[in-house]
């Protein structure tokens, strides 16, 4: 089983995440902490920021993995995320009078549902209407951006957001505790989902069939698997995860909605998915790297690094993304049937 999981680029991603943790432990617990620049680079605050920045990327990448593993290219994650964010916000503003927790949970469910509907729309456009999947994804992005900005009520205010829940015992571990075990619920959920998606993809019937459908749909068809049904279901679940990423932004990270607030995170998620070689853990590592570059930007500004223009530091995440995706990690291999319409009697094979 190993070979599908431990591809080189996954290893690199996971290595990056481990490197950060080890450095953080060393820098914070040993005499290395006397060096200011090390504290800037690997302090608890940098790591906290990293995690917060990477959660939406992780969820977005998982969304992409579910769709693409079944053969549907999902370039519309950005749009599904934005739709989820906006839906979560509208739900929250309309339930401000409810008890906080029920209002938040309700809003998360709405974000999931709207993301799922966007995924379903993408599936219908690309399967039923055989639209080019890149175009269909673009339609999703434009639809979400246009609708959310048209319907956005500037006076609406969401009251309250998810707050941190320290896990007893674990959160007392030095360095790792405050970074990993003292977070709001959606963060835990996202990390849990990485494990769930991994296990589901590689150790369940559903996962085996999903991967077969994305690699060689005709082979799946010849053993009686309904190819397009798997694609509909996966793309819809993928949409839900992207919607959850949007919900995270509004209901846990920021607390409010802003127009275009996803700000390219959907695309960086795609990069994380590719960098992680379509594997959940690989994507987690890649998302951590991208999140870290965003954290760095923040930490360097806070530490008063002014001799580098701010704009250059802001470019960091994108530069890392480009380098990562341009084959620097060696060859990644997308699902073979990605982007192709499947019809049983189509073609002369």
């Amino acid at each position: 089983m190993g070979s599908t999981f431990w591809k080189r680029s996954s290893l690199i991603s996971i290595g990056i995440a481990l490197f950060l943790v080890v450095m953080a432990v060393l820098v914070n617990l040993t005499s290395l902490s006397q060096y200011t620049w090390l504290r800037v680079l690997f302090g608890v605050s940098a790591l906290n920021f990293t995690l917060r920045a990477s959660i939406p990327l992780v969820l977005g990448a998982l969304s992409g993995i579910l769709c693409e593993r079944s053969g549907i290219i999902n370039i519309g994650i950005e749009g599904m995320m934005l739709a989820g964010a906006f839906a979560g916000f509208v739900a929250k503003t309309n339930t401000n009078h409810w008890p906080l927790m029920s209002s938040l949970i309700f809003s998360v469910l709405i974000a999931l549902a709207v993301g799922g509907l966007m995924g379903l729309l993408h599936a219908i456009l690309s399967i039923r209407f055989r639209m080019d999947q890149i175009i269909s994804g673009t339609v999703i992005i434009i639809l979400a951006a246009g609708t959310s900005s048209y319907l956005y009520d500037r006076d609406a205010i969401a009251q309250g957001k998810f707050s941190s829940v320290a896990i007893p015992g674990l959160s007392d571990i030095p360095v790792i505790g405050p970074v990993l075990f003292d977070n709001p619920p959606l963060t835990y959920l996202a990390l849990l989902l990485v494990v769930v998606v991994h296990v589901a993809l590689f150790y369940t019937r559903w996962g085996l069939r999903t991967r077969a459908v994305g690699e060689h749909p005709r082979a799946a068809d010849t053993v009686g698997i309904n190819v397009n049904r798997y694609r509909y279901v996966n793309t819809s679940i993928g949409g839900m995860l992207a919607g959850l990423a949007g919900g995270y932004l509004v209901l846990e990270a920021v607390g409010q909605f802003q127009e275009g607030m996803t700000a390219g995170r959907g695309f960086i998620s795609l990069a994380a998915m590719i960098f992680g070689n379509w594997n959940p853990f690989g994507a987690l590592g890649a998302a951590t790297l991208f999140g870290y570059t965003q954290a760095l930007q923040n930490e360097l500004l806070l530490a008063g690094v002014t001799n580098v223009p701010r704009q250059f530091i802001s470019m960091l995440p994108y530069i890392v993304t480009i380098v990562a995706v341009s084959g620097f990690v060696g060859r990644v291999r997308p699902p073979a049937a990605e982007g192709k319409v499947y019809e049983t009697e189509g073609g002369t094979e």
């Binding site: 089983m1 150790y203 369940t204 991967r211 060689h216 010849t222 053993v223 009686g224 073979a336 009697e345």
Partner: protein, 506 residues
């Protein structure tokens, strides 16, 4: 005693847009027999089998299993009825293991998780029972073609198939592997399984079948008894007229060396070694056949020779000029060489262009077809009219798209274009793959005619019969190397088969 057929197809008709693939086909299969279904490429064999397997829905007609009419909406229904099929193009996911491929769709599951151990144990048991060794945890992409085929057979047996359809299973095997397959088929028949064995190779049919059915242009044109039928009687039944099974050619008179390849090395797109030091010299007026199981570097060799792939090292000289990593245009112009590509749709023609334009793809920029920056339509049309006539390309009009021609006529069009300028070297890759017998005969004659004019010919083919029929010398490729070169007169099928499997006698 009247026996009930395990499988019966009655009056099956299948229409695709513009094609009738099967027309009123009837077929019966009895328990414990091997029924061979013979037919040319395009005769409708695969379509009929896909209908029996529930993958395609028949336009008309019905299927009976054990005497009862059945409705099959998808392969799931066929599998439930005990029908298994090994497809012409293997239906295996390359990046998955044997276990995953075999159990896909019929997974064994324990508390919601895949139970790979249980499935692997079944596979091992089946592979021992039927004498088809395999490692359940090997990745399919790492397996040789012969083993992949066994995986396909195991896949059907895993689902407890009693009726086994084998669609052109021998096309991709070496002669020795074919013998192995026949032994397995015998074993299966002995256990009461019924087999439909599809092929277009006559020898094989006579060797294993209990009964023979012949399909031509979608219709069953006859049955034959392997005890009384001969290769030529089957051939004329299959093609509908007398066919000459041998290509007529005189002895070769090789001249000076035209193509000189020395220690050529190249990699596949994925960076794996494809050519591991190939050296070969081809002289004017001889045909050198390059034999080998598909995927042993033949494709890459042709690509490097035609300028479509870069060589990592080594040299190529054509007519004495260095042509290593030269551009395709330089190779065609200065090297005076031409190329009949393996995949005509990708490299040989533009499906959407009219025949007229397809016939000048290699000369459109030259006089008389180009006048400054414009094209000379009348010259292009005159050229097309002449070539279509000379090369027997059958079409109602030269203005129809190349893609609308039948496979054989498309290939004749490609050959016509490539032969329309002076050449000293011909590189023909699988020149008759998937085309009708008439066109095969024609193209073979044209290749021999070029040889007799003094052209050096490299013929790459995975059909041993074609290699044996045309070549003057035969080079066998194995794992990116030419493992041996033998004279046609010294070559035997068995000897070549062993070489193709990498076995070289001292």
């Amino acid at each position: 005693m009247e026996q009930i057929p395990v499988l019966e197809a009655r009056n099956i008709t299948k229409r695709f847009p513009g094609v009738i693939a099967n027309q009123n086909v009837n077929l019966t299969l009895y328990r414990g027999e091997i029924l061979a279904l013979l037919g040319e490429n395009g005769a409708g064999k695969s379509t009929l089998m896909n209908i029996i397997y529930g993958l395609y829905q028949p336009t008309e007609g019905e299927i009976l299993v054990n005497g009862k009419p059945v409705q099959m909406r998808s392969p799931k229904d066929a599998i439930a009825l005990g029908i298994g099929m090994v497809h012409q193009h293997f239906q295996l996911v390359p990046v998955m293991t044997v276990v995953d491929n075999v159990m896909l769709g019929s997974e064994s599951v324990r508390c919601a998780f895949l139970n790979r151990e249980a499935a692997a144990a079944r596979i091992t048991e089946l592979s021992e029972r039927y004498n088809m060794a395999m490692d359940p945890y090997a990745l399919v992409e790492d397996l040789p073609v012969g083993v992949r085929q066994r995986v396909e057979i195991i896949k059907a047996l895993y689902r407890q198939a009693d009726i086994l359809i084998l669609d052109e299973p021998t096309a991709v095997l070496t002669p020795q592997e074919i013998e192995g397959l026949f032994a397995v088929m015998d074993l299966l028949r002995g256990q009461g399984k019924s087999i439909i064995f599809i092929t277009h190779k006559l020898k094989e049919v006579l060797r294993v079948a209990d009964r023979i059915g012949v399909l031509r242009r979608g219709q069953v044109v006859g049955e034959a008894d392997p005890k009384t039928a001969t290769q030529s009687s089957l051939a004329s039944l299959m093609v509908g007229r007398e066919v000459i099974l041998e290509v007529e050619k005189s002895d070769a008179h090789p001249g000076k060396a035209v193509l000189e390849i020395s220690d050529l090395r190249a990699t596949t797109d994925l960076g794996d070694t494809a050519l591991a030091g190939v050296s070969l010299t081809v002289h004017a007026g001889e045909i050198v056949g390059v034999a080998g199981v598909q995927g042993n570097g033949q494709t890459e060799l042709v690509e490097v020779l035609t300028g479509l792939r870069t060589a990592k090292s080594g040299t190529i000289r054509i007519g004495g000029q260095g042509m290593t990593n030269a551009s395709p245009r330089r190779i065609t112009e200065e090297g005076q060489s031409c190329h009949i590509p393996e995949d005509r749709h990708a490299f040989g023609m533009v499906d959407g262009y009219p025949i007229t334009d397809n016939l000048v793809l290699n000369t459109y920029y030259q006089s008389p077809f180009a006048r400054g920056i414009t094209v000379n339509r009348p010259a292009i049309e005159a050229n097309a009219a002449a070539l279509v006539e000379k090369f027997d390309v059958r079409t109602p009009s030269v203005h129809l798209s190349g893609g609308s021609l039948s496979g054989g006529n498309q290939q004749k069009m490609v050959v016509a274009r490539e032969f329309s300028r002076p050449i000293q070297l011909l590189i023909a890759a699988q020149p008759t793959r998937g085309i009708d017998v008439g066109s095969i005969e024609f193209i073979h004659q044209q290749i021999v005619a070029k040889r007799d004019e003094g052209v050096a010919v490299v013929l790459v083919s995975s059909e041993l019969d074609e290699i044996l029929a045309l070549s003057d010398r035969i080079a066998v490729m194995y794992k990116g190397e030419i493992i041996d070169i033998v004279d046609r007169d010294d070559a035997t099928r068995e000897g070549l088969g062993l070489l193709m499997a990498g076995v070289k006698e001292a």
